[in-house]
């Protein structure tokens, strides 16, 4: 049906509906509609890569300044062929695993306590605000002084980076418990422990998971910047050395490795978040 035809006012007859008319509201979404986000997203990435490749192929600037996507891909493959990369990935992975894991445990505990006990929040608020408004990266020189250039300073900076978004979001989740739900629970004589477990905690889950997701970003920044400054091994250090030795494709391959890790972790947490939100009606 053309636009002109659709514009024409169709006579409305009571009872019998015109079978030729489109009934948009009840139409099943087409297959394309379902995959629209993926299709359009992929197309735009492919387009961007193509433009990048064309610009690089024009060779207005040398490979050192603007390597093409193909150069980066080759560098990426080469990284894995030599096998040295595994030590770097292992080191960075361990730093993130330990630092982020500790941040999750401590952040969750502190956030819940601060949300639940007002006085505890009053006591810790100044520190949380101080550290949250400071880029924790600036503490790296101090951590190097304390812990040397092994994994510990990176773990410390990852921990501090991820800790505060987790604390703040967890606390907000507890604080945002609906007053009406608390009243219902109290009216039925629920103990504080039951209110915490059955009302406050489940209600905070979306906030907590958002905190975890924000924490991932901070953790990745922490590991890369930490290794840029001083490290023996690690993906951040690989990026630093490649950059300083003019191996731009290799450097960008390292960047892609970090970015990919971040996207993967965020997607996993997003999936977990969706699982916990299955009670929310679908908007579309």
């Amino acid at each position: 049906m053309s636009i002109k035809e659709a514009d024409r006012v169709l006579p409305v007859t009571a009872g019998a509906s015109d079978p030729t008319r489109e009934r948009r509201s009840v139409m099943r979404p087409s297959r394309f509609k379902q995959y629209e986000p993926v299709v359009i997203g992929t197309l735009s990435v492919v387009l961007a890569l193509a433009v990048w490749q064309l610009v690089a192929n024009a060779r207005i600037w040398s490979v050192l300044f603007v390597p093409g996507p193909w150069d980066v891909a080759q560098a990426f493959v080469k990284l894995f062929q030599t096998g040295d990369i595994w030590l770097d990935i292992g080191t960075s992975g361990a730093e993130i695993g330990i630092g982020y894991g500790m941040a999750v445990v401590a952040g969750l505990a502190l956030g819940l306590l601060m949300g639940w006990y007002t006085r505890f929040q009053y006591a810790l608020d100044p520190f949380v605000n101080f550290f949250y408004s400071t880029p924790r990266i600036v503490l790296i020189p101090l951590f190097i002084l304390w812990f040397g250039i092994e994994m510990q300073p990176k773990i410390a900076v990852i921990f501090l980076g991820a800790l505060f978004p987790i604390i703040i979001n967890t606390m907000a989740g507890v604080r945002n418990t609906e007053a009406a739900l608390l009243r219902v629970a109290r009216s039925f004589g629920a103990s504080d422990a039951l209110i915490f477990r059955r009302v406050v905690l489940p209600g905070s889950v979306p906030f907590i998971l958002t905190g975890f997701r924000l924490g991932v970003g901070h953790a990745l920044t922490g590991v890369v910047v930490g290794e840029l400054i001083a490290a023996k091994h690690g993906v951040g250090q690989l990026i630093a050395i490649a950059g300083q030795t003019f191996q731009t494709p290799k450097m960008l391959a390292g960047v892609i490795l970090i970015a990919g890790t971040g996207m993967l972790l965020t997607t996993i947490l997003q999936r977990v978040e969706n699982r916990f939100q299955s009670w929310r009606p679908q908007i579309r």
């Binding site: 109290r186 039925f188 209600g203 916990f276 009670w279």
Partner: protein, 273 residues
């Protein structure tokens, strides 16, 4: 001391609370004297802001009283207990729990029933309130009327001696409200629980209750009591009964008098008590 025949007895009940914003003491209820007889359905009506909901919260034990006495079966009410259950104006359902999970929440909070027993009984209760087939639905998937049915079922499952209802149908559309009133009457006639029902809807009060109490404007007191001598079971036709209309007029005028008071006092320059 107290009347043996009363289920709930209020004598000179005063309820005050502190307003943080204006740093002043606010008297919501000033000297309420009333009784609810066992098995009776009593409705309280009054102008909005007259303290009727506050009074009900005190009966539930959610807020303390500042003066007088408030007793259930002769015992002072100091905190919520399993002998009372509230049906709230806002359903207050846990959005992450299904209908079944929400219905058992009351007994779960009280710790009065094993989980398997609670689920078995909740299933019957859900059927009683007309939600059979919706056990696994989430609150956000339900209409306002259905959410209030869950709210009611949750209270009924605790098997209280007294049911407290705080304008449970106020937020519903007119048709759903009438249907819910009818359903409530049906359920109440099966259980015959003592019920204290708060509403600002005069018709609703007369339609449901054995007795209607009119509150004065704030600070609330009992202004008038009215026995509703309409035969049960009642259906919607009773709302056109001449006697029903007489009651309605009487209560309406009583409330109008209350609404008129502040204006006259303002004119006379007498500060509101």
């Amino acid at each position: 001391m107290h009347d043996r025949s009363a289920k709930l007895a209020a004598k000179g009940v005063v309820i005050e609370y502190w307003l943080h914003r204006s740093h002043s003491l606010f008297t919501a209820v000033q000297g309420v004297d009333m009784e609810v007889r066992p098995g009776e359905f009593l409705a309280i009506v009054g102008p909005s802001g007259c303290g009727k909901t506050t009074f009900l919260n005190a009966v539930d034990g959610l807020i303390p009283i500042a003066g007088g006495s408030l007793t259930l079966d002769g015992r002072d009410i100091t905190k919520p207990g399993p002998d009372r259950a509230m049906v709230f104006q806002q359903p207050g359902l846990l959005p992450w729990r299904t209908v079944l999970g929400n219905v058992i929440f009351g007994v779960e909070a009280q710790g009065s029933m094993s989980k398997s027993e609670a689920i078995a009984r909740a299933t019957q209760q859900i059927e009683l309130v007309g939600l059979k087939g919706f056990e696994d639905a989430y609150p956000l998937e339900l209409s306002g009327g259905m959410q209030q049915r869950v709210n009611l079922a949750r209270a009924l499952l605790t098997d209280p001696e007294m049911l407290l209802l705080d304008e449970p149908f106020a937020a519903l559309d007119a048709q759903t409200r009438e249907m819910m009133q009818l359903e409530l009457l049906k359920i109440w006639s099966q259980t015959r629980k003592t019920a204290l029902f708060i509403t600002h809807d005069i018709k609703e009060a007369i339609y449901l209750a054995d007795r209607v109490i009119v509150f004065t404007r704030r600070p609330g007191r009992v202004k008038e009591e009215l026995e509703i001598k309409l035969s049960r079971p009642r259906d919607l036709r009773v709302k056109r009964d001449p006697q029903f209309l007489t009651y309605e007029d009487q209560i309406w005028e009583s409330i109008q008098e209350e609404l008129a008071v502040p204006a006259e006092r303002l004119i006379a320059g007498i500060p509101a008590a």
